[in-house]
Amino acid sequence: MTTPATEDDDGTDVGSSAAGKVLAEGARLCLTYVKRCKAIFSIAVLGAAIYGVLLVVGTEVIGYATDEILIPTFDSDAERGSLGWLVAALIGISVLRSSGVVMRRYFGAMTTERNNKHLRRALGETYLDQSITDLKARPTGELLAHADTDVEVSTMLLQPLPFTLGMFVLAAAASISLLSIDIWLLGVASLVFPATWLANRIFTQKVIAPASKVRKAVGDVTAVVHESLDGALVVKTLGREADEVQRLTESADRLRRTRTQIGRLRATFEPTLDTLPSLGMVAVLAIGAWRISDGNVTTGQVIQAMILFQQLAFPIRIIGFFLEENAMSVVAARRLKKAFKVSAPLAAAGTETLDKGPLIIEFNNVTYGYGNQTVLKDCSFQIDKGEIVALVGETGSGKTTIAQLLFGLIEPHRGSIKIGNYQLPEINSEILREHISLVSQETFLFADDLKQNVKLYRQIDNSEVDKHAKTAQADFVNEMPGRWETLVGERGVTLSGGQRQRIAITRALVGDPGFLMLDDSTSAIDPILEGEILEALRKNLSTTTLVVAHRLSTIKLAKRVLFLHQGSIVASGSHEELLKNSDYADLVKAYERDSK
């Protein structure tokens, strides 16, 4: 059963905007990611540091080339340095510097991608391990968006991180050199840092709310697209194409508007980051000229300061870029954190095993509800070994909940369930799956061939498949051109509903379960076939069977009927005996009248 999708909390709690908090969160995020691949990340940082150092060395070499080679060339008196050495030095440094970049880019990307991989796997595990109720609480499309863009954006801050760290080394070295020249010049330079910082704070504060809206909007767009294409047939038969386009237009437009909002902020922030160092450079030059005319510094010192400052401009830009990504990543990571949250983890699996052969099933005062709504109340019944029992009840009486409880998809709030000789939680879950089978009204086929869909990775002979296919009237497969190797589309769309259900029944029979439950699983099969299937089941199997029955023919195939009314089993016995119960009689009569 599905819990209706709740409205997303419009990003208010994922959009907390205190800039300091966002930065701290980003730092923690970096730490978590880096810890996952320390060595690789270190190589990336080393590459960035090599690049930074060689950038300075390269400048020195050019200075040498100017002073020792080019100027002497034009001044015949001076002695010229070796041209060969210069060429070797220039190209050598460049090769080394480039390898620094290769290291940073390749291993930096590896750090990011390994984290993406890790997050995707973790999400996959969450989706597969959490309870079905948790899984169905959000639209599939939104879960897809988490695994795609949310993951990617949450690790985006890793890309500029090695460079940023490497640049801190460069910035520190340049600052110390500046200090040795003139305190005034350092003063100008150090003004650029807080200015960049301030710009970032303002940007972060403003961007965090729209950024979380963007993440939500991407999730919504994916959800609309997924649902709409999932229901493509209905969309076509209703002629709803234009309305569906309109529906996407609305959510895509929300995405467009919030992203434009962020774009506007960036349109101011990014040029500011470029402008601040340039302005600083001009300030150094102007103040330098003034300091020279006062005789406090020499021209050479000012030129050196300029070069140092130029080298500083680059790291400032990189750090600014990092801070910008930080805000986006933090927002995406907050969303992921919510996706990882599991509301009620299922209890740890037991260790007991079950014997082959028919199983006893027992419900003792089981109570279960969704939210405030009680579905099952003190529900008790027992099914003996090899018994075929029909479960009858109105829609909403709790039949599907019984199925979900029996198969451990959900756990009872009160009461206990016994399968074979053990309480359900005591049984090893893998063993349990081998011994019990449920065919639910939703038949899901995987995008694979029919044989794999029946075998589901279990070690099963083809003859076994054939045998059970005959029982489930699924031997129609043998008349298909590809037989059991026929590929079925996603959800088995290339088969008819009835064919899908017959494949699903075959799948459940394979492996000879000790307990079989058919929950409204023949709804698309015509009555003739349904009767034949049930008759074959009765003849060929010694399995304990519980059939959710809607047809008199089905009910009569069972020796005993359980009548589920308002959340509990109110009557049990043969069809004739149960007719004494007026609710049961009404329900069955309602059917009898219409089938005539």
Binding site: I528, L552, R593
Partner: protein, 599 residues
């Protein structure tokens, strides 16, 4: 297991060059070009300003603060002032460019997304069934997101860094054309190398986008198949498959990253080669080319200036390739031909019951599998028709042709004597409705799902439809009545309940021809009662064609069509067909035999 055919955008497609993708991309979204001239102008001006800043500073130092000469503070001050003004101007221009690009980008992506989505919905159901849902979703979502990342700053970076490079070369040429030629010759080998890398990089990213689509497919299956996976304890295998897809995607990504890592090296190393060549040329050719020291120093400075934009471009080239790869996938999707073309000036069908005429009607799939052979039938308006036959007899295909989910391969199919292909799409959808067996509902409440049958209807009309089908009691028993949430795909409701909702939807739409793929032989009594009653009333005043699974449906029909092996083998009333003692009689006998169990 994921074959190429699962991906709509991949079928029979040779990979395209970056240029082709760009050309097609721009022609697909004309908005890209709108106002581009002014944006480009602002970007070019901004780049000119950015180029002027270091040159001005350099001039201020050279002319104002020459070592050994008297400093000229006034000259420096004025230079600084001018530079500061240009910096501010560059800020304003960059901001303007950025703003314009943001508007254009978001507008373009919005259009592209909608266009792709619209196109997918126009593709035939067969096309949908052949592809993997998750992968198609990736095209409309993930691939468009990749484009967004690039357009936002990639486009601007191309213009600005491109202009900077060209500007630097122009200034170089003004300083010394001979040295410029030397520098350019040194850079020449880069071009074929970049081209070589670029092609491989694009292929690598294209592969990555395919892999992303596959991961989407696996995730989608792991989520949609959640219940089955849990029931059979398939988590381990599902994880293995999913992790495998994630791993393959990771490897594809890392392969593409290699090219990205190497690209910068090219620019840097050849920059050093250029610098070395200039030094050598300056030393050896000083006399012949009549070079001055100032020229050479300026030149060295200009070459170092080039490293900035070259580094940027290597970064952007990477982003561009990612975007192009995604773009290509979307464009391929848009190129899948639409099989069903709606007439532009189609005939409007008259209100009221619709008649159907089929003459020599045949249908075969693209691969040649014939499903329907030479069907001839005339169905008068207002009657009840039951279509019977075994699975695979062609009855479902016949129903699909009636609502134009596919077109016949030969022969003619007419509604009210108007050839199906000539009927106005809107009119056809209003007049002929199909209620599919698989009752997919949208994840909202019952009422909204009903309203999807006729979006213009009011709540009162919905209630009236419910009443006219005698379903008030049924609705009343739903937890929240018409406001009951149905869950994803409608899975909170039973199959039978979903079909009841579909029937109310059909009643609201009030079509003249109702095609009903009867869902259930087995629903709970209350729903069964609701269904039969509703079906009976729904049929009043229109032509109904039911794919019958129920004996009563066939017995009560005015006309029964019996399909067998793609042919219409028998047609007539119940008594006529029984009298023929052929296919229908046999079917009926076994039907009755089974039903007798009920009594």
């Amino acid at each position: 297991m994921t074959s190429e055919a699962d991906d709509l955008s991949e079928r029979d497609r040779p990979s395209q060059s970056a240029f082709e993708i760009l050309r097609k991309g721009i022609s697909t979204t004309p908005k890209l070009k709108k106002g581009l001239a002014l944006t480009a102008l602002a970007a070019v001006l901004s780049a000119c300003g950015q180029l002027a800043i270091p040159i001005l500073i350099r001039v201020a130092i050279d002319r104002g603060l020459q070592p050994g000469q008297q400093p000229r503070p006034a000259f420096v001050a004025i230079s600084c002032l001018i530079t500061a003004c240009i910096i501010i101007l560059v800020f304003v221009l960059s901001r303007l460019t950025f703003l314009r690009l943001v508007e254009m980008t978001e507008g373009t992506l919005f259009d592209l997304r909608i266009k792709a989505f619209e196109h997918v919905h126009r593709l035939s159901i067969a096309e949908h069934n052949r592809s993997r849902l998750g992968t198609t979703v990736a095209r409309v979502t993930s691939d468009v997101e990749q484009l967004a990342k690039f357009f936002e700053w990639g486009g601007m970076s191309w213009i600005i860094n491109g202009t900077l490079l060209i500007g630097i070369v122009i200034v170089m040429a003004a300083v010394s054309w001979q040295l410029t030629i030397v520098a350019l010759l040194a850079f020449l080998p880069v071009l074929p190398l970049v081209k070589w890398i670029q092609k491989r990089q694009l292929a690598a990213y294209s592969m990555l986008r395919t892999r992303v689509g596959e991961t989407f497919g696996e995730f989608s299956e792991a989520i949609s198949g959640g219940q089955t996976i849990r029931l059979y304890g398939l988590q381990k295998n599902a994880k293995k498959k999913l992790f495998n897809a994630i791993e393959i995607q990771y490897k594809a990504r890392m392969k593409a990253v290699r090219f990205f890592a190497v690209l910068f090296t090219l620019g840097d190393v050849f920059g050093a080669v250029a610098l070395s060549s200039i030094a050598v040329a300056a030393v050896t050719q000083q006399q012949t080319w009549d070079l001055e020291l100032g020229q050479v120093l300026a030149f060295v400075f200009l070459v170092t200036l080039m490293t900035g934009p070259i580094g940027h471009l290597s970064e952007i080239l990477d982003q561009t390739q990612i975007a192009l790869a995604g773009w290509e996938k979307i464009l391929n999707l848009l190129e899948i031909p639409i099989e069903i073309f709606e007439p532009s000036n189609g005939t409007i069908l008259q209100a009221g019951p619709v008649s159907v005429q089929a003459t020599s009607l045949c249908f075969a799939y693209g691969n040649g599998d014939t499903v329907l052979k030479d069907i001839n039938v005339s169905i008068p308006a207002g009657i009840k028709v039951a279509v019977v036959g075994e699975t695979g007899s062609g009855k479902t295909t016949f129903a699909k042709l009636l609502v134009r989910l596919a077109d016949p391969s030969s022969g003619s199919l007419k509604l009210n004597n108007v050839e199906m292909q000539n009927v106005d799409a809107q009119s056809r959808r209003g007049a002929a409705r199909m209620v599919p067996q698989d009752g997919f509902l949208f994840n909202t409440d019952v009422q909204t799902n009903i309203l999807y049958g006729k979006p213009s209807a009011t709540e009162a009309e919905v209630i009236a439809s419910v009443r006219s089908l005698g379903l008030e009691e049924w609705v009343g028993l739903l937890p929240d009545g018409l406001k009951t949430q149905v869950g994803e795909r409608g899975e909170s409701l039973s199959v039978g309940e979903r079909q009841v909702v579909a029937l109310i939807r059909a009643q609201l739409a009030d079509p003249g021809l109702l095609i009903l793929d009867e869902a259930t032989s087995s629903v709970d009594p209350r729903t069964e009662k609701a269904l039969t009653g509703a079906l009976y009333r729904l049929a009043e005043g229109r032509t109904t064609i039911s794919i019958a699974h129920r004996l009563s449906t066939a017995e009560n029909a005015d006309l029964i069509l019996v399909f067998d092996g793609g042919k219409l083998v028998e047609q007539g009333s119940h008594t006529e067909l029984l009298g023929m003692k052929k296919k229908y009689a046999n079917l009926h006998a076994s039907w009755v035999g089974n039903t007798r169990l009920d009594r």
